[in-house]
């Protein structure tokens, strides 16, 4: 019985429920950190170490600090500002996700190939053997796989940047161009944030903007 799976799944589900239910936005943000840490542990349980660490660094680190900073900046933590939604909205907001979960549990038994199997690391190493190099100067991926450890970061990098030659038995279209586009997206987002947060100095009467 996968104890760790159920423990971390419970942590992430409880954190998500607490995120929705807490009145105080600061408590919501903290419980969201718990939910994301549980989710990152689930990623690591799926042998996706790189994605799990990125999840903790980016979501539980950077993004949540940004949320907390904004909540504190706007000073929303007073519970007196909390207003409850109307009962109709609450009922509707519970029925729609509940219907979604019921549909999901009806579909899930149809999913094939769901049996967990251990990764054949030593056999996979054969696909990364390079004949043109000395046997003791093989790639990091080959050496790690031979020692029965999964070189997760190297494999993600190989998939991301593509590879030359046929010695690497991994199928990838190469993601160099999407990576460049992502860089442009981040630049545009930075410029947009600066443009949005600039105060307008031209307002004549001052008014509500200041």
């Amino acid at each position: 019985m996968p104890v760790f799976f159920y423990a971390f799944a419970a942590i992430s589900i409880v954190g998500a429920i607490a995120l929705v239910c807490f009145r105080n936005p600061v408590s919501s943000a903290i419980s969201m950190v718990g939910s994301f840490v549980g989710l990152a542990a689930l990623f690591i349980g799926l042998n996706a170490y790189f994605v799990g660490i990125i999840q903790i660094l980016v979501y539980a680190g950077a993004i949540m600090v940004l949320f907390l900073f904004i909540i504190m900046l706007l000073d929303l933590k007073a519970p007196s500002t909390f207003k409850r939604s109307s009962p109709m909205v609450i009922v509707g907001g519970l029925i729609i996700p509940f219907t979604f979960v019921i549909q999901l549990s009806a579909v899930l038994p149809e999913v094939r190939g769901g049996n967990p199997q251990a990764l054949p690391l030593e056999e996979a190493a054969k696909g990364f053997y390079d004949k043109d190099r000395d046997p003791d100067k093989q790639s990091e991926i080959y050496n790690s796989l031979r020692q029965k450890s999964l070189p997760d970061v190297n494999l993600v990098g190989l998939t991301l940047f593509g590879h030359k030659g046929d010695n690497a038995s991994i199928r990838t279209p190469g993601y160099n161009f999407p990576l460049q586009i992502t860089g442009v997206l981040l630049l545009v987002a930075t410029v947009g944030v600066v443009a949005l947060s600039l105060k307008k100095k031209k307002s004549k009467s001052g008014g509500s903007e200041s």
Binding site: F5, A16, V51, I63, L74, T182, G192
Partner: protein, 106 residues
């Protein structure tokens, strides 16, 4: 190790909780956090399929994990822009309650 169905169910449950939060809550920052939760739930689906859909060499399909990497990058940019919009909105209207933000008749 749990089966693929269990991972997908947890992912769907997280997505449903996030959807409920988006529909129920009135604080726009909490709504935004619930949106992030839904994105992460989708990431869990991708990683689970990547792990269980092994290739010819028996290793996970790393294309799925690269997609998760891109999603996390885009989510980080989205959070930065979204929070800047919320701060600008708060400066203009002095509120973060979506019931008070009805000038677009939503």
């Amino acid at each position: 190790m749990a089966s693929l169905q269990e991972y997908l169910f947890i992912s769907g449950l997280l997505f449903a909780i996030g959807l409920a939060g988006v529909l129920i809550r009135r604080n726009i920052i909490v709504i935004f956090m619930c949106l992030e939760l839904m994105l992460s739930a989708a990431n869990l689906t991708l990683v689970a399929f990547s792990r269980f859909n092994t290739g010819e060499n028996g290793l996970p399909d790393y294309n799925g994990q690269v997609l998760v990497f891109f999603i996390i990058t885009v989510a980080a940019a989205e959070v930065a822009v979204g929070l800047a919009i919320i701060v600008a909105l708060y400066r203009a209207r002095q509120t973060v309650d979506v019931k008070d933000l009805t000038s677009m008749r939503g």
